[in-house]
Amino acid sequence: MLDFRLDEEQKMLSDTIHRFAEERVRKVFRHADEDGKIPADVIKAGWEIGVLPSFIPETYGGFGEPSAVTAAIAYEQFAYGDLAAALNILAPSAVAMAVLRAGTEAQKEAHLPLFCEDKLPKIAAALTEPSILYDPFDLKTTATPDGDEVILHGVKSVVPLADQADTFLVYVNEGGRTQAYFIPAGTPGLTIGERDKLMGIRALPTFKLHLDNVSVPAENRLGGADGINFSTLLNYSRVAMGALAVGMARAGYEYARDYAKQRVQFGEPIAHRQSIAFMLAEMAIDIDGARMMVWEAAWMLDQGQEATQAVTVMKHYVDEMVMTVADRALQTLGGYGYIREYPVELWFRNARGFATFDGLASA
């Protein structure tokens, strides 16, 4: 039966992360963007909320079952705090959920317990590539069999926290199919490039990853001999990114709404004018609609339904929504929106990223 109310556990989780966002993240995020890093204690506190272990079954050291809907609810709140902080805290999810959903039993046993510890696991996923023609279903980075080994070659980009990682999960083109391989840091031929210089999410260190004929055992393939159904994994990841976009859009919208109520021009708050009030109303509607689309896609995935169409349509809508909302938030603040002392220009820069962010988190 149709119902869009959170259950008690989801409400509690949502409230907890919202509090974390308000009390910890919002205190530091503006400075973190200038600084290029988020204070370690904030990341640690976010990790300790334990969202990821709550999706990992007890057998593997966690204390729950995966739910894309619950993940969407939680991730929205993280991004409401700050997108870079959210991506930092949730970066391990991109690997953990892929292993949980597509890994062999041995891979699950080997990797999943790492995601249930107190410290952030040092493992990073690498999907996107630095090309205008980037296509997750037709990657330029290749995998070529070589006896019991596989030779990996190419360049990946926007790999979060690559400088600290001891393992990478790298997505490659293997005979026309997208597959993924575990590569330990320090494997010959694998080098971490310079830190990316991005327009937004500047508090999150991301890097290029160069693979120069890197040789790894064939058994390092995620999913073993059968490999993975990449399309499904990408759907889960896109639900996560959609939820993050909704959270960040909401941050921008609420800030603009509150600003418009206290900014006085012509002797009264600018929110008394329909030109401002209607922008805010449309922002609220767009965000609500986008959230429903994220939830529906997540729910379909949780039900085991084929969701590629729903996910793609959602992604296109949400990517545009978050940019439009951020733009209107900035417009509401006028000149102050353009000043870095205020957070709106940060959301504006972050927003455009959703069109290119791929595989940075998973639901």
């Binding site: 039966m1 149709l2 119902d3 869009f4 109310r5 959170l6 259950d7 989801q10 809907v69 205008i132 023609l133 980037y134 296509d135 997750p136 279903f137 399309s231 709404r257 418009a260 109520k261 929110a271 008394h272 329909q274 009030a277 209607f278 805010l280 109303a281 449309e282 609220a284 509607i285 767009d286 609500d288 609609g289 986008a290 429903m292 689309m293 939830w295 529906e296 729910w299 379909m300 590629t308 169409q309 729903a310 996910v311 793609t312 349509v313 959602m314 296109h316 809508y317 545009e320 069109a355």
Partner: protein, 417 residues
Amino acid sequence: MINFEIPARIKQELMMVEMVANQVMRPRSRYLDEHEHERPTEFINMMWPAVKEQNRRQIERLKQNGAAAKEKSGPSTALLRLILLIEQMSWGDAGQYLCVPGGGLGGAAVEAVGTPEQKIRFLSRFAEGDEPSWGAMAITEPDAGSDNSSMRTTAVLDPETNEWIINGEKIFITSGTLSLKESNGFCVVWATVDPKAGRGGIKSFIVEANTPGVTVSPGLEKLGIRASDTVILTFEDVRVPYDNLLGSAEVREQTGKAGFAGAMKTFDASRPAVAASAMGIARAALEFVKEKLAEEGITVDYTKPTHKMTAFERELVMMEGLYKSAWLLTLKSVAAMTHGEGNRLEASMSKAHAGMVVTKISQKAVELLGPLGYSRELLAEKFMRDAKINDIYEGTRQINLLIVARAILGYSRKELK
């Protein structure tokens, strides 16, 4: 618990309506569009037995349980069912859908504010008889559209006969002829008992079919939904019994905002209903354009990155996104009501968004089909003309945005005009 599942019982009913849409409505779409004031008789006759049966059960329940029934019952799927049926009928033909027999908006108003006695007295006609009947709702006046609180239609009590005397003019009345001249129906007429009291003086009255003093104009000539009966009603010393004033004695005697609250309460259900009708047309247009493109070998590959998509694919994905966002907002506004929660904000959100979305999608559909889209040989151009009314009636997009804006800002109508 978040759940997008539609109950199986309703799904089954929807399949029946889809059959009616395909076999009865669509074959008559073009003809009725080009013969504006003819009635969709096949559709009406097809629907009447089902409508009657549904209403009969509702009246039964009313008679058995009396007043307390509504307060006690838990989640009710009635509105959800209605919304989904409206979507499916509008997918078939939005103009014909509006001629569906039964209480319509007038019936909804009785449902929302009527006493149990009034419900049985006025709604029983939609549950019996060989001939269909209709209900209508008259709020808008020539000079009082969005600003409906400035209406000038008056109701004056004649203490000698204990009757209300109604005078005034109402415009854009859906099913006005069907309810007052062509069946044993009624129209809910909004009028002020105290012009100086503003909103507080406005009450709603039942005017039954064939009441002396009511003039029904010839059908208005419209851009779309031409199968729908839209008229101007003139009331000249129209006398109705005292008890035709809708609501409990308490509501009747209340002044201040309470009197007007009835109309507003009706909107909580009627706005999602309009959103649903809009989404029926949007889905029809979207499916139509995808079908026609598929005949040319053009389909959407949802796994392509943006840079590999054709212009067609990008447009279609954009249209589907708009469609989905509006449809899910519509369901959200209904779900809130189903679970006994207030939905005024959600109702206006879905109505504002769905009106915009169906306007855009139907216009895109005509554009994408090129010369065929613009041709009256196909239905795309009709969808575009039918669509636009959803951006206007039951509160224009702008009025609904105003309601949303006031709600999210916590503003009164004085602070945000």
